[in-house]
């Protein structure tokens, strides 16, 4: 790179720090770098890394017959669509109710997967074969999840090389690869998040290593796989614009700007090009962005709106009890108590429209983006990225609980960048609340034990060693109190889980209180996530970069 580059992140220049574990073979002397050298991962993979890979593989194999959500059929249907229909009909087909609503790269990806699938079992790619769940399709689809997740593993492996704090870096990488979130969503519930976040982490890795163009291109690719990552786009935009396209003094570097813009446009052209040429763009966009859903998902994702909805319910009770003269929307009384999919209508509080959520989200994001603009380095970028995702999650319209991964995953990277106890505590609260908020996804009794035991063991393995490393004694009384309060909150999860387990038996499964455990989970998790959001925002805004 030329010398006029703005100060590239420190990490890029850090030498490779030797591991405490002795690697399989002594480090070879530096050889002439081959362009494909990074692909040779086995060269210096330690035994413990291979252990983790094999164990996680074994665990995931064992989960093959576990519960599958409708997402499994969604993806099978997409295999069938992309295999049996010409590209022009992909976004028009309505044979199944699970129409294709991911961006084109994902459709191409499914097309790629469908070729071996039809070779293994033609039934998989048969369009009319709705709800096909033979062992062949289960094994095949679950295997593809496992294999594509290796992208994530690779990215994490690269992160551990040349890290500032090898121990912490390795434990966090391992914990991310074995994260209960991925286990619950990808390997039981069924989705391809490991693959997606793998691409995201590659992109972040490129940013760490100073290859910002590659970082931007990878993020554009990711956007064309799954458009939910658009939540993170503002941070990318600001970061790349400020640190790549502009010199530190603030002058625009036109060649860089143009090369970045061209690269991104090229990616989008490769993705949307065929559909634009067929004039299908409006149809495609209407599939990608359906604005017909309600504020909350069926089970309220634990964000600000869940808190607000719960507050509305409490207010409604209060109003009825005190007989205050407040207008109560009759529609709202029935709407939120059951949490059905559809429009959430408040009974007491004024209703929220999409535009409101949009404005609030943008407002919060601007706060962090301004900071990022002033301090455009890697550490700051990762935290801002996290916070961008976080504000979208907290205030977005119709957020799904699975989106909590958007917080947890980048948060881990930002934790690496800054390693204070305050960060760790934030991360701990957000992780625990986030993982717990995913529990209702698996409501079948057989998987209940699995999710609880796995998350507990994971927590012990990851949080305890880190805790011992970064613990700082709280300096004054308010901090002591705060610390105690947070610990009490975390301990409350055990009680909450006990309540969720016991409640259906005690209540006799009455329909009117059926929703209570879910609501409690949502509100409790939302409290923690909101608190972690506040913590992280304050830390970020106050921190000197």
């Amino acid at each position: 790179m030329p010398n006029s580059v703005p100060p590239s992140p420190k990490h890029a220049r850090w030498p490779v720090i030797p591991e405490d574990d002795v690697p399989e073979q002594p480090k070879a002397p530096p050889q002439s770098p081959s362009p494909w050298a990074w692909l040779n991962i086995w060269k210096d993979t330690t035994r413990s890394e291979t252990d983790l890979l094999l164990f996680s593989t074994a665990f995931k194999l064992l989960l093959f017959p576990s519960y599958r959500s409708t997402d499994f059929e969604v993806h099978r249907n997409w295999l069938a669509i992309t295999y049996s229909l010409p590209i022009s009909q992909w976004y028009y087909d309505t044979t199944s109710e699970w129409t294709l609503d991911y961006p084109p790269f994902f459709a191409y990806f499914e097309k790629l997967l469908s070729i071996p699938a039809s070779f293994i079992d033609p039934g998989i790619t048969h369009l009319r074969n709705v709800n096909y769940d033979a062992w062949s399709v289960v094994a095949y689809q679950r295997t593809t999840v496992m294999l594509t997740e290796l992208i994530l593993g690779l990215a994490l492996l690269r992160f551990t090389r040349g890290a500032v704090a090898p121990f912490r870096q390795r434990i966090l990488s391992a914990s991310l690869f074995l994260h209960p979130g991925f286990l619950i969503i990808d390997h039981i519930h069924f989705q391809y998040n490991g693959f997606m976040f793998g691409i995201l982490l590659w992109s972040i890795l490129m940013a760490r290593d100073g290859k910002k163009l590659a970082s931007g291109v990878l993020f554009a690719v990711l956007l064309n796989f799954k458009h939910i990552y658009i939540y993170l786009a503002p941070a990318y935009f600001v970061y790349l614009l400020r640190s790549y396209c502009m010199s530190p003094s603030g002058d625009i570097l036109p060649t860089r700007f143009i090369s970045l813009a061209n690269a991104v446009i090229l990616v989008f052209a490769a993705s949307f090009g065929p559909f634009i040429s067929m004039g299908q763009l409006p149809q495609l966009l209407s599939r990608l962005f359906p604005f017909t859903r309600g504020l909350n998902h069926a089970y309220w994702a634990p964000n600000a709106w869940a808190l607000l909805t719960a507050a509305d319910r409490v207010l409604l009770r209060l109003v009825r009890w005190s007989g205050m003269n407040v207008t109560v929307h009759e529609q709202g009384i029935t709407s939120t108590s059951r949490g059905l999919v559809g429009d959430t209508v408040f009974a007491v509080i004024p209703n929220i429209k999409p535009i409101h959520t949009f404005i609030i989200t943008i407002a919060f994001q601007m706060l962090f983006l301004v900071k990022l603009w002033r301090a455009p380095n890697y550490k700051s970028f990762v935290t801002a990225l996290t916070l961008c995702g976080y504000s979208s999650y907290m205030f977005g319209w119709h957020v799904h609980e699975k989106a909590v991964l958007l917080i947890i995953v980048p948060l881990r990277r930002s934790l690496l960048a800054a390693d204070s106890y305050a960060y760790f505590k934030t991360y701990m609260i957000a992780s625990i609340a986030g993982i717990f908020s995913l529990f209702p996804l698996l409501f079948t009794p057989a998987e209940t034990l699995l999710k609880i035991v796995y998350s507990l063991v994971w927590g012990v393995m990851v949080l305890r060693p880190l805790y011992k490393q970064v613990y700082e004694f709280p300096a004054s009384l308010p901090w002591v109190l705060l610390e105690q309060l947070e610990n009490a909150y975390l301990a409350g999860f055990a009680l909450l889980q006990a309540f969720v387990l016991v409640f259906p038996t005690l209540s006799g499964e009455k329909p009117e209180v059926e929703f209570l455990p879910l609501m409690m989970t949502s509100v409790y998790c939302a409290t923690g996530l909101a608190w972690a959001f506040i913590r992280l925002s304050i830390i970020y805004l106050k921190q000197q970069y």
Binding site: F59, L62, Y454, V460, R464
Partner: protein, 724 residues
């Protein structure tokens, strides 16, 4: 022990570690046989004080400080140097090339990061997780009416026990999964049935619930296995690692526990195929634990319970019986007879209590007869399906037994019984003979005279808490007998391989990769799982099979495809693993030809049986080695008594000499080397090395420091290879 009357201060400062029972064959008892071992050195860093203490056993008379000679010090100096070298060798980076197994890496990591207290809970939690997720898969007889499989059998027993009076349990509709396990299974089924029908009565409605396969019912049944396993087998394993590996580091104990917790064959059968083997095995294991701490009565009762849970535990009974009888012999005529009578009483009583509801005051005698004939069905064939045992193997390769003995099945039964007995005879004889050789003698007048002498085994006056010398032989003997039953007995099922696999896994648990025990243990266990492949495939547990084998091999650090061609077992495992891989591949790509629909199970038998046979032979060989290391083989110490007398004479002489010249330290040296102690030290050290699974002379793998020291003593003349 009398030595407590005058405990050496050096013992307190730096105690001589007690050897553990499994890996080496040096039991405490053996080490205390002063006239046999000329060296009783410490395994840890040496201090002058511990030199004094450890030389005490070499010098039969008490006050070691008085008798400390320079040459003895020199001796220890050298040993200590040897120990240090071996310790530094272990830290050598080149040693890292040996894959120590993921368990050890993980345990080391946990200990290093201050999570020592979390190792056992996390390991148990993860194993519970794995067990439960195996249970997500299929089970025996899933959706195959009208008879279904083992799952339905167990469920049916819960159904019939809660609805029928006890007298009818063994007679009710025997054609549809009639109860054919001993009463403890029935009682446990009753408890499970009661709990289950409290949750949902339709699961266990009499007759109406036959073939129930609802998700809720499956969940409940799986949960019963998990709970019983957690109540019996997991504590038994924990106790095992604490007791049998008691003298080893906590890391080794933890590693052993994890190795055993994830035992693939047992997990796949119990939590996949659906059975309650872990209860039976756990009870036997608890009995072993009880024997090791000297609680013989508790052990006997536990073993009776194990038998009462599943008659399969009979495979272990010859050895358990021989061990207890051997202990009676070992204790001598008086104590032994007393123990024998007590044991007999306890055993019979516990059997009576177990069968009480089927006995006369509560039921007609015919009830007992019915249950016995149900529990031991001699009416079935020689073997079921394709079992990797002698009969099925020879049936395929040599001659068709059923055709040859058509109409004369009784003969066949007798032949199989005789072969089985012949098969476990070495183990039984080894135990009995070992106890006889090392039996306690009543204190001789001389010994009473020098009653303050420490470390003289003759003066054990309180025999019960002292571990029996034959204890290290017990796992090998259990392996021999159960494998012999598996190979030669009548009416064997492929799941029965679990019984020999348990002692094999126990032996393996403390071994490190590179040892012979490890190589055989890992090979036997992997082939054991492989031999059940046809069964698992039928149950739809193929993925679980793959996952568990992968997981366990990686855990213990066993790479099936690594070539270890320098030893027989290495060659064997290379050949076996390659053929196993090929067989799996073949089965994956092609369907069996129509003429031989059973082609793959038969090939499986052909691969597995030789391995089991060799494991059986190996266990006998190891049994002989261990008993040699313990007390010498038949005839090798025929003149032991005379020798002992001579030594006593010599000691007396020496004491007199000592009285004459209390400072004659120089004189004592010839008394050490001249009294014939060293005569067989070389052979003994070598046999000891062999006994603990090592090729001492060729010097491969990690060596126990003490063994190195012993070897140094024996090859002092300069067997050059051992340069240190």
């Amino acid at each position: 022990m009398i030595c407590s009357s005058e405990t050496e201060p050096a013992q307190i400062v730096s105690p001589v570690p007690r050897r553990h029972l499994l890996q080496t064959s040096e039991s405490l008892h053996w080490l205390r046989l002063g006239e046999l071992s000329d060296y009783d050195g410490p395994a840890r860093g040496i201090s002058p004080a511990s030199v004094a203490s450890s030389s005490a056993s070499a010098f039969p008379s008490s006050s070691a400080s008085k008798r400390l000679s320079f040459s003895a010090l020199l001796e220890h100096e050298r040993i200590a140097r040897g120990i240090r070298t071996s310790a530094s060798l272990r830290r050598d980076p080149s040693d890292n090339r040996i894959d120590q197994g993921a368990v050890r890496r993980w345990v080391r990591w946990m200990h290093k990061h201050n999570l020592k207290a979390w190792v056992v809970p996390s390991a148990i939690a993860v194993s519970t997780w794995v067990k439960w997720s195996i249970g997500l898969g299929g089970y025996s007889g899933h959706a195959t009416p009208p008879m279904f499989g083992d799952y339905e059998a167990q469920r049916h027993w819960m159904e019939l026990t809660i609805h029928l009076p006890i007298q009818q349990w063994y007679t009710y509709d025997p054609r549809y999964w009639g109860l054919d396990y001993p009463p403890l299974t029935a009682y446990v089924s009753w408890i499970c049935g009661q709990v289950g029908s409290w949750i949902d009565p339709s699961w266990f409605a009499l007759e109406a619930s036959r073939g129930t396969e609802t998700p809720g019912n499956k969940l409940f049944m799986r949960a019963t296995v998990l709970v019983l396993d957690a109540l019996v087998f997991v504590p038994a394993l924990y106790a095992f690692t604490r007791i049998w590996h008691g003298t080893r580091s906590s890391r080794t104990q933890h590693a052993a526990l994890i190795t055993l917790l994830f035992h693939p064959a047992l997990l796949l059968i119990d939590f996949g195929h659906f059975q309650y083997n872990s209860v039976m095995l756990g009870l036997t294991l608890l009995a072993m634990d009880a024997f090791a701490v000297g609680l013989d009565f508790v052990g006997a009762v536990l073993f009776v319970l194990s038998l009462g849970f599943k008659q399969m535990a009979l495979y272990y009974s010859p050895v358990v019986g021989a061990y207890l009888l051997g202990k009676c012999i070992y204790l001598g005529p008086n104590n032994g007879a007393r123990l024998f009578i007590r044991l007999a009483l306890v055993t019979v009583l516990s059997f009576i209590i177990l069968f009480a509801p089927l006995l006369p005051p509560f039921a007609p005698i015919s009830a007992l007869g019915a249950s016995i004939s149900r529990i031991f069905p001699f009416a079935r064939g020689l073997f079921e399906d394709k079992v990797a045992n002698f009969w099925c193997f020879t049936n395929v390769t040599v001659l068709k037994w059923k055709r040859v003995f058509n109409g004369r099945e009784v003969l066949l039964v007798r032949a199989s019984a005789a072969l089985t007995a012949l098969g476990f005879l070495p183990a039984v004889v080894g135990l009995l003979w070992g106890s006889y050789k090392m039996r306690l003698r009543s204190p001789s007048p001389l010994a009473r005279e020098q009653i303050d002498a420490p470390a003289t085994p003759i003066t054990h006056s309180i025999p019960f808490p002292v571990p029996t010398p034959t204890l290290p032989l017990l796992p090998y003997a259990l392996l021999t007998t159960s494998m012999s039953f598996f190979l030669f007995s009548f009416q064997v099922h492929e799941k029965t391989i679990l019984l020999p696999l348990l002692p094999l896994a126990l032996l393996l648990s403390g071994a490190t990769p590179g040892e012979e025990v490890f190589a055989w243990g890992a090979l036997g266990n992997v082939v054991g799982v492989f031999s059940m492949w046809p069964l698992l495939k039928k149950d739809g547990l193929g993925v679980q099979y793959l996952a568990m084998v992968l997981l366990w091999c990686r855990l213990i650090g066993y790479n099936p495809f690594a070539m270890r061609l320098h030893s027989f077992v290495g060659l064997l495992s290379a050949a076996v693993h390659i053929s196993m891989g090929l067989l799996h591949l073949l089965e994956l790509v092609m369907a069996p030809p129509a003429r031989y629909p059973d082609l793959f199970p038969v090939l499986n038998v052909l691969v597995s049986t030789p391995v089991f046979g060799l494991v059986w032979l190996w266990s006998i060989r190891r049994g002989i080695e261990v008993s040699w290391a313990m007390g010498g083989l038949i005839g090798s110490r025929a003149d032991a008594k005379d020798k002992r007398k001579e030594e006593e004479k010599e000691q007396r002489k020496e004491r007199e000499r000592e009285k004459a010249n209390s400072l004659s330290t120089v004189d004592s040296v010839p008394s050490l080397s001249g009294s014939g102690i060293r005569k067989d030290a070389g052979t003994r050290a070598q046999s000891l090395g062999f006994a603990s699974g090592q090729d001492v002379l060729r010097g491969r793998g990690y060596r126990d420091p003490r063994r190195r020291a012993l070897e140094r003593l024996s090859t002092r003349a300069g067997n050059g290879e051992e340069g240190g």
